[in-house]
């Protein structure tokens, strides 16, 4: 088990913090947008400069499920001044909406243009065990339910099938003057998530949402990882799906 997961379990948590989830992705070679964690305003500015503007700020808190609902996300930050202002505003806003929320820090993240967003999900089904999902982000998944599933583990062909199977595939393949996105990069992410599902049975659910993809690469921008409540018990109950 990866240390990030061990530490979270040890501290009795049932989910990873945003930066931990991104770090977990990195340990599996899943590409993520450049990021750093700031605990002070100075660190935030330092990170903004190092990552390079524009950047995005996201609050990190175990108590906040929907960051943007509490003003915990600021985008299109172009320079040090804007960053300082946004940093302060995030703290104020969170304090106003959720005064008791524990704020661990602020994620400073490279702002990646997102003409096309996809999502990759992982869950454990009562009957099938680990299953993986792929879909186009936003309205496509939420309203149209245009998603595909496979049972883990998957192979390269399964990954390609998942991508080509969704109705929105022509959007990924390119249309009019819009070139095809890097489909291989998406297939690679699916394979890595499938591997993670098998190697880390403690993960009960995971969403990489959104993943920004263009013609050159794919990058995870946000990730949510839920852990099993009582890990050892779960293993004993369902040994065949591990």
């Amino acid at each position: 088990m990866k240390d990030i997961l061990k530490n979270a379990l040890a501290s009795g948590r049932r989910s990873l913090l945003l930066h931990e989830a991104l770090k977990l992705c990195e340990t599996y070679s899943i590409p993520v947008a450049k990021y750093g964690v700031a605990n002070t305003l100075e660190q935030a500015v330092e990170l903004g400069r190092r990552i390079g503007y524009p950047v995005v700020l996201k609050v990190i808190s175990p108590d906040i499920a929907h960051k943007s609902d509490v003003g915990g996300v600021m985008v299109s930050i172009m320079n040090d001044d804007e960053l300082q202002e946004s940093y302060t505003r995030i703290h104020e806003s969170v304090k106003k909406y959720l005064p008791n929320a524990m704020v661990i820090g602020v994620l400073v993240q490279e702002m990646v243009p997102t003409p096309i967003e996809v999502i990759v999900g992982l869950k454990r089904d009562r009957q099938f065990g680990p299953v993986i999902m792929f879909g186009l982000g936003g309205v496509f998944v939420e309203i149209l339910k245009d998603v595909s599933f496979r049972i883990c583990p998957i192979d390269k062909q399964d990954a390609m099938d998942m991508i080509t199977e969704i109705k929105g595939y022509p959007i990924l393949k390119g249309y009019r003057n819009i070139p095809s996105v890097d489909i291989q990069a998406l297939a690679d992410i699916l394979l890595l998530v499938s591997r993670m599902a098998l190697e880390e049975p403690v993960i009960s659910e995971m969403d990489l949402n959104p993943i920004a993809v263009d013609g050159r690469c794919a990058k995870v921008l946000d990730a949510r990882v839920l852990l099993k409540v009582d890990f050892t018990t779960c293993v004993d109950e369902n040994p065949s799906i591990m």
């Binding site: 009957q127 595909s148 496979r150 049972i151 099938d161």
Partner: protein, 465 residues
């Protein structure tokens, strides 16, 4: 061990009865009328003889080896009967009765578990509980409570349903259209014979070329996937799965004891291992028939030939809806067709042969040109009875010869009033060309052959030449 269930040398019927209102009577009648050639031993302490057969008070008093026992007694007695069977060395059992884990009865699980224990102890394979029985048409074995199953044609489709009702739903249609089966059975509650065990058995069964399964839900679908991975490279599997909606899920639990589960995941699992999905019972057997008769297609380019324009449109439409490509004929093929067919109708896929209706030879030449085209992977043909007397010529021999010469899969719709074209249908089917009463079914059948070809190449790396 499953071999003995389908090919028993001797059968004990526990709960056999002379009362035609009892299932124990129906099973006995099925076996006798079905022409079973082995020994039949009715077991019922109330009788000395049953339907002219000597009856025995218990399985253990039968003075012979017993391969298979059909158990038709109340659930409270099943475990005791199975204990006797175990001591007797019986190899397989069919447990017709219900009231086990599927039932709204608090002790259903208890009976299930006790039965599981005793059959495990003696290594007895069980079909059921909660099954109508087992039919092996190549062995004249009808070990079910419905004698009518013996009337089915012996063929090469194995039908394995979670529900006996589904077998009964398919049976009249199969009788009407002469669809032949190797085995027909429902596996009900699947005590120790579930879909994976059946699939592995059918893989080795020489009489089975394609497998049709009706699935509500299984406890460990990964086992089903693993079995399918072993079978599909050698024999195609078609599934009709219910449980898309939540009510069906609950109904399934009380029907055969397993939740139907998340339909999306079953759909994904079937795609993943290359199980072909049908949308209803008729599609299920139609696709299974095509797959039992015909080779898989090497590609997805289909040619549509029909007697008139409308059916041609329906064939083309259905093919495209299923994801097939209408073949673009080569220049050579187009020229050949243009020489034969007057320019008053569709000629370049779909091909309308209406103007050649009375000229079988010319129709045959067109069909030959289409089959010979390198750009065509599969052919679907739609003929309908019209006009009067022998005016209309169906190019049956040409279709048979073309299929043989090129190995390309073909399916044929023959729409006709009962009786008039039975001989044509018979000739086609005897030559392994599947016929269907509607254009939609003929198109879906050809799709299943294209799909199986895709699965073999794409998932299992099988080269189709």
């Amino acid at each position: 061990m499953l071999h003995y269930i389908f090919n028993p040398r001797s059968i004990a019927i526990v709960g056999a009865s002379e009362n035609p209102l009892k299932m124990g009577n129906h099973v006995l009648v099925s076996l006798i009328e079905g022409g079973y050639a082995g020994k039949i031993y009715p077991v019922n302490p109330k009788y000395d003889y049953l339907l002219n057969l000597k009856a025995y008070p218990s399985v253990e008093t039968i003075p012979d080896q017993v391969d298979l026992t059909v158990v038709i007694v109340p659930r409270e007695q099943v475990v005791q009967v199975m204990e006797e069977c175990g001591r007797k060395g019986v190899k397989g059992a069919i447990v017709i009765g219900a009231g086990f884990r599927e039932a709204y009865l608090c002790d259903g699980d208890k009976y299930h578990n006790e039965l599981a224990k005793v059959t495990k102890k003696y290594g007895i394979k069980v079909i059921g509980p909660n099954t109508f029985g087992v039919v092996n048409l190549h062995a004249s074995l009808n070990a079910s409570f419905t004698p009518a199953f013996s009337k089915l044609k012996a063929g090469n489709i194995a039908l394995v349903a979670q529900s006996g009702g589904v077998c009964h739903t398919i049976m009249p249609y199969a009788l009407k259209y002469g669809i032949g089966f190797s085995k027909v059975l429902s596996i009900g509650n699947r005590l120790n014979v579930d879909f994976p065990e059946m699939l592995d058995y059918l893989l080795t069964d020489e009489d089975t070329r394609s497998i049709a399964i009706y699935v509500e839900g299984v406890d460990d679908p990964r086992r089903l996937m693993d079995a399918a991975r072993r079978v599909v490279p050698h024999k195609p599997i078609v599934v009709y799965k219910v449980g898309r909606f939540s009510k069906a899920d609950v109904a399934s639990l009380s029907h055969t004891g397993s939740l139907a589960g998340d339909y999306m995941l079953y759909d994904a699992a079937f795609r993943q291992v290359g199980i072909i999905q049908a949308d209803d019972c008729i599609e299920l057997v139609s696709m299974a028939k095509a797959l039992a008769y015909q080779p898989p297609a090497r590609g997805n380019r289909v040619a549509v030939i029909s007697l008139t324009a409308g059916p041609g449109m329906i064939l083309a439409e259905t093919c495209e809806r299923m994801g097939l490509k209408l073949a673009e004929f080569s220049y050579k093929t187009k020229s050949r067709i243009d020489e034969i067919v007057p320019p008053m109708t569709m000629r370049h896929n779909p091909v309308d042969l209406g103007l050649l209706a009375a000229e079988g030879e010319k129709s045959g030449e067109v069909i030959k040109a289409v089959f010979e085209d390198e750009c065509v992977d599969a052919v679907v043909i739609g003929y309908l009875y019209s006009w009067y007397g022998d005016f209309l010529k169906v190019p049956v021999q040409e279709v048979i010869e073309c299929h043989k010469a090129h190995g390309k899969p073909v399916s044929v719709c023959l729409a006709y009033p009962e009786g008039v074209w039975d001989h044509l249908m018979k000739t086609l089917e005897e030559n392994s060309i599947p016929t269907f009463p509607t254009n939609e079914l003929a198109a879906k059948a050809i799709w299943s052959l294209v799909e199986y070809g895709r699965i073999l190449r794409h998932k299992y790396g099988v080269s189709l030449g």
